[in-house]
């Protein structure tokens, strides 16, 4: 299996470079670059701009620039951010981590709520609880996450129970580690909930469907006939088989959270990769955009790979070699 994982990662490399090339071309076919804004600024002399142009090789042909960028990438240099005036790697590392934290929190929330909810709905099929859950899922599925984020932020602004945006309180540094954790969780609550409500609804539905399908199988009848308790039948016999197909969704779920996170980050002011990407795109900060795209892709690939490995661990019938 490790060989398979390695192979998957190897295949991903040319694709990532393809994504970078695409981004590069996209950034270049739009008229103007970051230096144009600098040119407007009378504070910069012509010599400085010429030096910049040479430094970033903006006067060289497009393909040459791309090759240079890839060469630098091999030395783990992601280029220089014009906007922030620091090397890209200095900004992006922290941002990736923040996005990862947010996606992970939303992901955990989704799974911890959706699975029990789905089981509960399946066991109470067509009763009031099930009907209520299905009704609210239907609403939650169609509720745009940005709208939910706005409403939650508004609620927080009225009650003052949760902080409004950002990731840390201003006095974060003065807390001990339990205080820091609580502070982080408080800031996480709104974006994570806004992000996961839709996925909870979707996953809950799938879980309910799987559970109902498994509960209709003959071996469940056999287990009941053996005189096992309902609890044991549900949690030992049915659950394991019902949850298997969900693991395939794991990677997909994670990556869609990652994509959804970008908009929520922008709305809730979460300092993640998505909001960084927006600033970079707005200021035409080429290398920052390219690095953000690459990192988004990398997170995506890792998510999918982890899902595949989890699936192989959960289902002994699956062999990747």
């Amino acid at each position: 299996m490790w060989r398979y994982a390695f192979k998957r990662l190897l295949v991903a490399v040319p694709m990532l470079l393809g994504i970078a090339l695409l981004t590069f071309v996209l950034m270049r076919i739009s008229p103007g670059n970051y230096l144009d804004t600098v040119r407007m600024d009378p504070q910069f002399s012509k010599e400085t701009i010429a030096r910049y142009e040479q430094l970033y090789q903006l006067d060289k042909p497009l393909f040459y620039q791309y090759v240079q960028w890839v060469k630098n990438l091999l030395r783990l240099e992601l280029g220089y951010s014009f906007y922030y005036n620091v090397p890209v790697y200095k900004i992006i590392g922290e941002r990736i981590w923040n996005t990862f934290v947010l996606s992970l929190a939303a992901f955990l929330l989704t799974w911890c709520v959706a699975i029990p909810l789905g089981i509960w709905a399946a066991l109470n099929r067509n009763r009031f609880a099930d009907r209520a859950i299905q009704f609210f899922s239907c609403i939650a599925l169609s509720l745009p996450s940005f709208f939910l984020g706005m409403i939650l932020l508004f609620w927080a602004s009225q009650t003052g129970m949760l902080p409004l945006g950002g990731m840390h309180s201003p006095d974060y540094e003065s807390f001990g580690w339990p205080g820091r954790l609580v502070d982080l969780l408080k800031h996480l609550a709104i974006p994570a909930v806004a992000l996961s409500i839709g996925s909870i609804a979707a996953l809950q539905r799938i879980m309910r469907g799987n559970m109902l399908e498994v509960l209709g199988q003959k071996y469940i009848l056999t287990a009941h006939a053996k005189g096992l308790s309902q609890r044991r039948v549900v949690y030992h016999h049915a659950l394991r088989n019902a949850i298997n197909p969900l693991i395939t969704l794991l990677g997909y779920e994670f990556s869609s959270l990652l994509s959804g996170a970008a908009l929520i980050e922008i709305i809730c002011g979460w300092p993640g990769l998505g909001s960084l990407m927006l600033t970079a795109v707005r200021s035409k900060d080429v290398y920052l955009v390219m690095a953000s795209m690459m990192m988004g892709g990398v997170l995506f690939i890792i998510g999918n790979l982890l899902a595949d490995i989890a699936l192989a661990k959960a289902d002994p019938r699956i062999r990747y070699d």
Binding site: L26, P144, F147, V281, G296
Partner: protein, 366 residues
């Protein structure tokens, strides 16, 4: 002429299944109303989307009155007076002296009916200088109701056109990939994976960056459609390809080949129609993605630009959340987005339920 159940075609059976789903049918009617509103926006809207009156910034929804001193009269709206409270916040109070009657089918701003015929008559309006704000006013005193209708033109059409383009690409790429197989298939699928590998919103931002700033609003509109379609086709192409891989082995394809039909004709006429039942509900279920994509982009200021209205850019006013408190009506576009997305989801689900038996039977034939 009566038809027996056995004589119904598969699509008639599916249609019957759909019409029995009351929720889905009522959702279809809601969508019909929304699209009709968008199509006839100029007629239904009392004002044009850029008709502003700064004296009515964030004016609350106007009350339409039909009783005057207990007497039943023709509908009128009371005038509004702007005052400030001790914190300098705006307060609109009803001025009982001023009354403006509502008139129907009166000439007002010119607009183009169906985008073609120049027309001046609106469904309703009030005598000037009174103004009618059925759903309140925005920051610049523009009518939210009118802007919702004009915004629907953008937000609702983007879904339809976007889905059409990306399905055309997706079906063609999936069909070619599945039919030819081999190296071409490999290449096309890697291309799909590349598009799918980037988280959608990041790709959206990067593609948006390539659109020049000096585009006018119509160009931006089409740019957004193309961007959204560019992201949407890959997932579909993969599924269609999977279907085509099995379809190309069927006898009738062999027969068509034997008769000397060209490959592209076989794909378009004989293979792709079999993926139709999947495509129909996939279309319905993917339209919300385009509507949400457009709103998301416009919300953060990268989509349709003011003064033109779209549901997304109307909402960007609500990004400063304090405004929600004193002008909650600026959230109406969010409600419209929710309603539209919900309707498409319900219809898509219903279609899948009644088309699924056909999918299964097609699978059994192979």
């Amino acid at each position: 002429m009566t038809k027996n159940a056995e004589h119904l075609s598969e699509f008639q059976i599916a249609l019957r299944g759909f019409t029995q789903n009351r929720l889905a049918v009522s959702c279809a009617y809601v969508l019909l109303v929304l699209y009709a509103g968008a199509l006839l926006a100029g007629f239904f809207a009392p004002y044009s989307f850029q008709d502003e009156d700064r004296n009515y910034s964030y004016a609350p929804p106007t009350q339409v009155k039909i009783f005057d001193n207990g007497r039943f009269v023709a509908p009128y709206v009371p005038g509004m007076k702007l005052t400030f409270d001790e914190y300098n916040a705006r307060i609109y109070v009803i001025d009982p002296v001023q009354k403006y009657s509502i008139r129907f089918f009166v000439p007002g701003d010119t607009y183009r009916l169906f985008g073609v015929f120049p027309c001046r008559h609106h469904l309703f309006s009030v005598d000037s200088p009174g103004r009618i704000y059925l759903l309140g006013a925005d920051a610049r005193g523009r009518d939210v109701f009118s802007r919702l209708l004009y915004g629907a033109q953008v937000s609702l059409s983007i879904g339809l056109i976007g889905v059409f383009i990306s399905f055309a690409i997706g079906l063609l790429v999936g069909g070619i990939s599945g039919y030819y197989g081999g190296r071409l298939d490999n290449f096309l699928m890697r291309l799909c994976e590349m598009v799918m590998m980037v988280p959608g919103f990041y790709l959206l931002l990067a593609l948006r960056a390539a659109v020049p700033d000096n585009f006018n609003s119509l160009q931006v509109y089409f740019a957004i459609i193309i961007i959204l379609s560019f992201i949407g086709w890959a997932g579909l192409a993969r599924i269609i390809r999977g279907m085509c891989l099995s379809l190309r082995e069927r006898e009738y394809v062999l027969a068509a080949k034997g008769l000397g039909l060209s490959d592209i004709k076989i794909i378009v006429r004989h293979i792709l129609p079999h993926t139709l039942s999947y495509s129909i509900f996939a279309v319905m279920l993917s339209i919300p993605g385009y509507i949400l994509g457009e709103s998301g982009l416009s919300l953060i200021g990268l989509g349709i630009q003011d003064p033109y209205a779209s549901w997304g850019n109307m909402l960007s006013d609500a990004m400063s959340i304090v405004r929600i408190k004193f002008a909650p009506w600026i959230l109406w576009p969010a409600f419209c987005i929710f309603l539209t997305v919900a309707c498409f989801n319900v219809i898509g689900d219903a279609l899948r339920d009644c088309l699924d038996p056909m999918l299964k039977s097609e699978g059994e034939n192979t």
